[in-house]
Amino acid sequence: MGDLAAKLQLYFSYPFVWYALIVGLLIALCSSLLGVTLVLKRFSYIGDGLSHVAFGAMAVAGLVGLTNDMYIVLPITVISAILLLRTGQNAKINGDAAIAMISVGALAVGYMLMNVFPSSANVTGDVCTTLFGSTSILTLKEADVIVCIIMSVIVIAAFLLFYHKIFAVTFDENFMRAAGVKANIYNLIIAIITALIIVLAMNLVGSLLISALIIFPALSAMRVFKSFKSVVVCSACVSVFCAGVGIFTSIMAGTPVGSTIVVTDILVFFIFCIVSLFTRRRSQ
């Protein structure tokens, strides 16, 4: 136990470990807030789709030779998010088909560009880092942490400010429109926030595992709680807890950060499933 504490103390003497913890917890919190809405709107897979778009955009940025790929990645991801979420049910190709099309299309184009026009000699490493996060979260700088804090504050503030509207647009968009509220504006805000979170979360778990951050906490909370508010609060708590445990475990055991967080999310989901079985029996 003493060795473990000493090791923990040693690891936390490095600033980048603190940065990873702060950014990891903030991303987990933000993704869980929006996760409930996305799951309820049947957009669970949008995280996956948009992250693949971001992957493709990264390849394009590499091809163009930009030192800062975010100038391309963020706008493309945001535009894709808006297209996917705003078109809604009126589009010719809607819902899961649109997401699947954009997802696999961007992934294929991105991978092809990375191989045909490699920006570094280690293409395999680049692809692996982007898809699985690798140790990106442990390689953040102060500037990244500050940006993440600012964006997290904006996301949380937007969620709290528009809580009732997001609630309405989540459950009954048509009723909202009939009541004279411009649902499109709130869909746009949700789309921008979703894109921001996904680009941020790519550092944490990589583009293949982002969906887990969005859906698992929400689904876990839905096993036990029934109201929107309680599900959101529980989802946020579960997400932050899992991210914290995942990062600690990863640092101490040397496991990959992203997959460790996701495995923790899965374990918590099963625990909540078991808890829900007991609570249902009691209520019956």
């Binding site: 100038y71 880092t129 140790t135 390689t139 990244d144 940006v147 937007a158 040397g254």
Partner: protein
């Protein structure tokens, strides 16, 4: 008030989009090391060894450290069982990376490459595999201790330089050999860039 706040949110979101563009210049520098390491595997190492063994002289820049470590080199053979040859036992170092897991080692080396100023003058000991490359442009041979990350898809190559009297290839192992390097972190300028390296006084073939 609430109305103004609602109007401000989309503006703030747009600002956040612009601000979130992070600087990847350090990653680019890091990519150079990755590239160097990757190029090595493509080289015909054996041919290069014979060509350059006579002409290359490794220049070991002055270390900025005040830490004194015994100048002992153990090569080509496994370290004797005697504890005296274990660098950890010889003298405590500031950073003993051999006691850390793959994730932390990879992250520390990345941090070291990105923010070398924070680490200059510190003594360290690190395990990895040996690799080398020769750049015609600078007429210099570079030596690396290469450390993979936990997912094993990414590697960080940390350059090291042994004392001048060590000649390549006689005093160095084959590329891919597991090694342990002990030394002090320093830096040198090349082509307008500052690079971190280990001014190594000990390299052990594991």
């Amino acid at each position: 008030m609430r109305k103004y706040l609602k109007a401000a949110v989309p503006i703030l979101l747009a600002s956040a989009l612009l601000c979130s563009c992070k600087d990847n210049s350090a990653a680019g520098k890091n990519a150079l090391i990755d590239e160097i390491v990757s190029q090595i595997s493509a080289e015909d190492a054996a041919a290069a060894m014979n060509d350059e063994a006579k002409s290359v002289t490794t220049t070991a820049p002055e270390t900025t450290s005040e830490v004194q470590i015994s100048s002992e080199l153990t090569l080509g053979t496994n370290p004797p069982s005697s504890e005296a040859t274990d660098p950890v036992q010889l003298d405590p170092v500031d950073m003993d990376l051999t006691q850390m897991n793959a994730t932390m080692i990879y992250s520390i080396i990345y941090d070291l490459m990105v923010k070398p100023n924070d680490y200059y003058g510190k003594s360290l000991i690190v395990d990895g595999y040996f690799d080398t490359m020769y750049l015609d442009e600078f007429q210099t041979r570079y030596f690396f201790v290469v450390v993979p990350d936990a997912t094993a898809c990414c590697v960080q190559g940390l350059e090291f330089k042994l004392p001048d009297d060590k000649v390549y290839p006689d005093d160095y192992p084959e590329p891919g050999t597991d090694i342990r390097v002990r030394g002090v972190l320093g830096s040198y300028e090349e082509a307008g860039q500052t690079y971190a390296y280990i001014s190594a006084d000990q390299m052990i073939v594991k």
